[in-house]
């Protein structure tokens, strides 16, 4: 099942360890990672401490192949040297599948809207009811101020938008009635893509057209 589950991630990494009295410490260095993982070793297993950036709440078991050791009196390097100090870098690291939202959202109504015409301060749109599609379309007049400034460049007649109305409960338990409007975003085709599609279209037209 191709679900959004946590999968073990196999990554090449380098592990530098230093044996100190009573414990080991070291780092797992992933090429390209901005931050490093601080490891505290306990017997044969290595636990990733909660210093992992962006992985709050995750502690993973890392199984290592071989571990390279550096002398006690040398500091652990902050970055990865070009030559590996381990022989078989093989680290399994679990990444979380989804960061949970702090808010509980209850959607009461959703529409897909299409901008029909734009006046000076307002615009007219046709709304199709996405929550109950059997409801008829409605024409509404809304203020342009309802459109996010960062969506304005996409705001033209014919643009599609999504409008949701519902409740949002904060972690502190405060309920808010919220209206969220977002202009739909679709990519602009490259010239190569256009050429490819036109060629396919021409083949299709020739296939179907009666001579």
């Amino acid at each position: 099942m191709l679900g959004a589950t946590i999968e073990p991630l196999s990554m090449k990494a380098h592990i530098l360890m230093r044996r100190s009295e009573g414990h080991h410490e070291g780092r797992v260095l992933f090429p390209g990672l901005k931050e490093q993982f601080l490891i505290l070793q306990e017997s044969c297993q290595v636990n990733v401490a909660r210093h992992l950036i962006g992985l709050d709440g995750v502690s993973s078991v890392i199984t290592v192949g071989e571990v390279g050791y550096i002398p006690q009196n040398q500091p652990l390097p902050a970055s990865l040297p070009d030559q590996s100090v381990t022989k078989n870098p093989d680290v399994l690291l679990r990444l979380p599948s989804l960061k949970e939202s702090k808010w509980k959202v209850t959607v009461l109504q959703q529409w897909v809207g299409r901008v029909e015409r734009i006046e000076r301060l307002t615009f007219y749109a046709v709304l199709n009811d996405a929550t109950n599609p059997q409801n008829p379309p409605e024409e509404v007049e809304l203020e342009i101020a309802e459109i996010s400034p960062s969506d304005r460049s996409l705001f033209i007649p014919g643009a599609t938008f999504y409008w949701s109305i519902g409740y949002q409960d904060t972690p502190g338990g405060q309920r808010q009635r919220v209206s969220v409007l977002r202009i739909a975003r679709h990519p602009r085709l490259s010239d190569t893509d256009v050429d490819r599609i036109l060629k396919q279209a021409d083949s299709l037209a020739a296939f179907l057209e009666i001579a």
């Binding site: 029909e116 307002t122 409801n135 008829p136 509404v140 679709h186 057209e209």
Partner: protein
């Protein structure tokens, strides 16, 4: 009492219109049907053509002979691909004003955008259906769309054994509109590639007006053809054509929701019989037909039937919090469609004198004061 199909010798014209969208079904005799345009019944979520025909016991797979898209406006073709998919025995007809190759290019590029018009998406699906028919071995000559242009015969059911002989002709678009259509397509293609300008929807002058000869009766379905000032486009082009089928239509689907720009006075005398039955579909976005449109129509015939009243659609009920927010946010609101109004006319097509049986369902009504 269950609804039944018309008799083999009966003409039936069923016009559906909820206020945004229209669909016309014509029984041309012997169980054969023509479907013109399409709209969705919101209750079932299905094209009304399929819902209705199945409800009266029609085998849509074999009994539908033509599916016509009169022009590429969203309100005329929603669900038409689904209709074509369900009617493998039907040929698909669209306007020859648009060169086919360029039309396919526009559709295929437009289909890459999920937010593109439903007309583009429908045509994209239609092309897939036609391609699959050909891949399944259907003869190439019977698969591709039939391109309608002025005075082309689209369908001939003239077998001597039939209860009714029937022919279907297109009266438009005019030859002269092809250059305009090419320019429009080119504009649309640029807009779609650009994704910065919205494509303009297909112009009404390229729409297909149909003339059906069913037994002794003639029917004219006006689509959205406009009345323009020149003589080579619009209704004037039809009137001036020497090759158009002869006759005067007893039944008339009024073009463009009865707006002034579709009113051609000469068409009433040249193309229509005395006191024809005229059916108007409402178009709520433009608030058509207006009372002035109805008055103009009633001056020409007393038999004016309207599928639904564009001024009387009720707001659906929603959660109070939703209503409150909408009222706070929206400066104005109106519903664009109501019930699927249905005007059904049935008539013995073996003679011209027979009085037709008219049924008005789901909010359809007569409009002239004297009726």
């Amino acid at each position: 009492m269950p609804d039944t199909a018309p008799n083999p010798h009966e003409l039936e014209i069923s016009v559906f219109g909820p206020g945004f969208g229209e669909c016309i079904l014509v029984h041309v005799g012997d169980g054969d049907w023509v479907i013109v345009d399409s709209c969705i019944d919101r209750k079932s979520g299905q094209p009304i053509a399929l819902d209705y025909l199945r409800s009266i016991g029609v085998n849509v797979a074999s009994q539908v002979k033509l599916v016509v898209a009169t022009h590429w406006h969203d309100d005329h073709i929603r669900g038409i691909a689904q209709v074509l998919h369900a009617t493998p025995g039907a040929r698909f007809v669209d306007s020859d004003a648009y060169p086919f190759k360029e039309l396919v290019e526009m559709v295929e590029i437009g289909a890459t955008s999920p937010s593109h018009s439903s007309a583009t998406k429908e045509y994209h699906q239609i092309l897939s259906i036609l391609k699959k028919r050909q891949e399944r071995g259907q003869r190439a000559e019977t698969v591709g769309p039939v391109r309608a242009i002025a005075n082309r015969r689209l369908l001939a059911l003239t077998n001597a054994e039939r209860a009714l002989q029937a022919e279907v002709f297109s009266l438009s678009p005019a030859d002269s509109s092809i250059a305009l259509a090419r320019a429009e397509l080119s504009y649309a293609l640029d807009a779609i590639k650009d994704r910065s300008r919205p494509p303009k929807q297909g112009a009404n002058e390229f729409s297909i007006v149909l003339w059906l000869k069913v037994g002794a009766l003639d029917v004219m379905l006006g689509a959205d053809l406009e009345h323009v000032s020149g003589t080579t486009e619009g209704w004037r082009a039809i009137l001036r054509s020497a090759e158009r089928p002869s006759g005067h239509a007893r039944f008339f689907k009024v073009p463009h929701h009865r707006s002034e720009n579709a009113d051609c006075p000469e068409s009433w005398t040249e193309l229509l019989s005395q006191q024809p039955i005229a059916v108007v579909t409402a178009h709520s976005p433009s608030r058509r037909p207006r009372p002035s449109d109805i008055s103009r129509l009633c001056a020409r015939t007393q038999h004016v039937l309207l599928t639904s009243d564009p001024y009387r659609y009720a707001l659906p009920r929603r959660d109070k919090a939703v209503e409150r927010t909408m009222n706070e946010t929206a400066l104005s609101r109106r519903v664009l469609s109501g019930q699927m109004g249905h005007v059904r006319v049935r008539c013995d097509a073996r003679t011209v004198g027979e009085n037709p049986m008219i049924e008005l369902r789901n909010g359809a009504k007569r409009t002239c004061a004297s009726q």
